[in-house]
């Protein structure tokens, strides 16, 4: 019966390091091999670009010409240039407005409003509303932006038809408002879904006790609902801020125009670095963007930590 065992006793005795909690007998070396390809790809194409930005941002790298072949170290020149350039500040300001109105206010409020109003509905109306909002989120960005170009068209756009404002060039007269509404349309699904699940977790008994003492809808919202979903509101706000800050999709609608009126930071970087060819300067602005992202992400980590601790 022992013939089933093929390994000679000698080799079995040879000490082998095995971890106590290594159920599959992987061993550290093999585990390393398993993890390596993924980590290499992440390292090369995610981590390294971030670090590389620091170096790139301190050179006069250009896409073409002499500086493409032998870029020179220029220290903080790019940062000085960016920070003294009014168009950078303009872009930052536009970004702030964009994030504030389309993300923090628009998506959050409308997302909450939708979640709130479909909460007690069942059946096809609920599916239809949720489906439409979700569909806007899911369809590819280039399709979404085309649909809005159609909708807002100057001569025969549906919006002008509905509002009786034939001939209004929304994208030229009100470019920022247009991309804000466009971005609300694209992104509200996330807030809606997040708040839907948050609202369904609010204990009905709390709402009912508020109703029993005669609280109005508004008072219920303020005294019961909001305190219960405070964490979700914060999470939602931070994630939405991060994503809205980083979105490039408005470029597909207005391409930053007219006259840079919708040149939010992501578009500004693109215009500077790729068509503009100033990779060094673009990298310097990218680094600023990365740092802002870092701050938002760290705030998010802090918030979610605090929440899990409680």
């Amino acid at each position: 019966m022992t013939t089933t065992v093929t390994t000679p006793a000698g080799s079995a005795i040879a000490p082998r390091r095995r971890r106590a909690d290594d159920v599959a007998g992987l061993g550290k070396a093999r585990a390393g091999i398993f993890v390596a390809p993924a980590l290499i790809i992440i390292g090369l194409f995610l981590l390294f670009p971030a670090v590389w930005t620091i170096w790139l941002g301190s050179t006069d790298y250009r896409l073409t010409g002499l500086q493409a072949a032998s870029p020179e170290f220029v220290g903080l020149d790019n940062y000085v240039e960016a920070l003294t350039d009014p168009s950078f500040w303009n872009s930052l300001w536009l970004t702030l407005i964009f994030v504030l109105f389309s993300g923090i206010i628009g998506q959050t409020l409308i997302g909450f409003g939708l979640a709130w109003s479909v909460r007690n509905i069942h059946g096809w109306t609920k599916s239809l509303i949720e489906g439409l909002v979700l569909a806007a989120w899911v369809i590819p960005a280039s399709v979404a932006s085309f649909l809005w170009l159609v909708l807002l068209d100057r001569r025969s756009g549906t919006v002008n038809g509905l509002l009786g404002t034939q001939g209004t060039a929304w994208l030229i007269d009100h470019p920022m408002e247009s991309i804000i509404i466009f971005n609300i349309w694209v992104g509200t699904a996330f807030s809606m879904q997040l708040f839907s699940s948050a609202l369904s977790a609010v204990p009905p008994s709390q709402i009912e006790s508020a109703k029993m003492v005669g609280a109005s809808g508004w008072q219920q919202l303020r005294d019961v609902i909001v305190p219960n979903i405070k964490g979700h509101i914060l999470t939602n706000t931070l994630l939405i801020t991060l994503w809205t800050f980083n979105t490039f999709t408005p470029y597909l609608v207005t391409a930053g125009g007219p006259n840079g009126k919708t040149e939010i930071l992501s578009v500004y970087i693109y215009e500077t670095a790729i068509p503009g060819g100033q990779l060094g300067l673009g990298a310097a602005i990218s680094l600023i963007m990365l740092l802002i992202n870092l701050v938002i992400a760290l705030a998010y980590v802090r918030v979610s930590r605090g929440r899990t601790k409680r």
Partner: protein, 304 residues
């Protein structure tokens, strides 16, 4: 326009008509219920406007491709399938859909393959600081977004000579998606009982054997979810192929869609509308099927 559904008319339907209160409190209550009623109406109107806003572009997306003479104005179509016939004759359109599929599948293979290996090792071996690494990676992927890293990525890919090649696009996309995937899959693998592997191990199966015979089949639902999710992510991604690919032949549908309506002088609406629907349909279908089957999940939801 008459065809536009008004989905958010429902809030009004939930408004309960004020019930006659006892006479002694009638006056006060009537005031309160009137205010209540008015605020419900205002709310309903706002929600209806929002609903119409969400519906309008979608209605165009669905109707225009079937209209013999689509225009920018929303109108009841003059039904036809000619637009699709025309689409299938356009060499760029079909090829770009194929390109999107190719990019999606290639990225998916890398992400699922390497992601599963890494997640498995991380789930089964206690590396010091493992959870820290995992959260660090997730954090990294949400900070280093496509937009924030577009300049260095573009420069590095240029230096590597991978510009205008699928290799570059796939690697960059995979790098951005992998952290989330590892995170989700590790969670999934953690939930697979270890006794399966231990049992296989007792019979002499080696680690690769165990992975192939036991872990992969059991993890299949998780892997399938990740595979679909990855393809959906890549399918809609515009920025990465937009900056890393040059030749029109290589462009995926996301970029071709954009060039269709920006570069052709007079936009061919029959072509574009059909293309937009064809390009959106797979993700819409996948999404709603997945949503139905598994419910809506975020999973750190990085949407780059």
């Amino acid at each position: 326009m008459t065809s536009t559904p008004t989905p958010t008319s429902t809030p009004t339907s939930t408004t309960t008509p004020p019930v006659a209160p006892p006479p002694n409190v009638r006056k006060v209550a009537a005031n309160a219920s009137l205010r209540h009623f008015l605020s419900r109406v205002a709310f309903a109107i706002v929600m209806t406007i929002v609903g119409v806003l969400f519906a309008l572009p979608m209605v165009w997306l669905v109707l225009a491709p079937f209209d013999a003479t689509p225009s920018l104005t929303l109108s009841w179509p003059d039904w036809t399938l000619d637009n699709f016939a025309r689409l299938f004759e356009n060499p760029y359109a079909l090829r770009s859909i194929g390109n999107s599929l190719l990019l999606g599948v290639a990225t998916m293979v890398i992400v699922v393959g390497f992601g599963a290996l890494a997640a498995y090792a991380m789930s089964r071996i206690r590396i010091p600081g493992r959870d820290g690494i995992l959260y660090g990676l997730l954090l990294l992927s949400s900070i280093v977004t496509g937009t924030a890293a577009m300049v260095p990525t573009f420069q590095i890919i240029t230096q590597l000579g991978l510009i205008n090649s699928y290799t570059g696009v796939v690697l960059v996309l995979a790098g951005g998606i992998l952290p989330t995937v590892i995170f989700i899959l590790k969670d999934f693998m953690d939930s697979i009982p270890k006794s399966y592997e231990e049992s296989a191990r007792l019979y002499g199966a080696g680690p690769f054997r165990i992975l192939r015979d036991v872990v992969a089949p059991i993890a299949r639902p998780g892997l399938a979810f990740i595979a679909i999710w990855t393809i959906v992510q890549v399918w809609g991604n515009f920025l990465v192929p937009f900056i890393l690919l040059r030749s029109p032949d290589l462009q995926p549908a996301a970029v071709v869609m954009y060039t269709f309506y920006t570069e052709s002088g007079q936009a061919d609406l029959r072509l574009i509308s059909a293309f937009a629907l064809l390009f959106s349909a797979p993700v819409l279908i996948i999404y709603f099927v997945v949503n139905r089957r598994y419910g809506f999940r975020f999973h750190g939801g990085i949407k780059s």
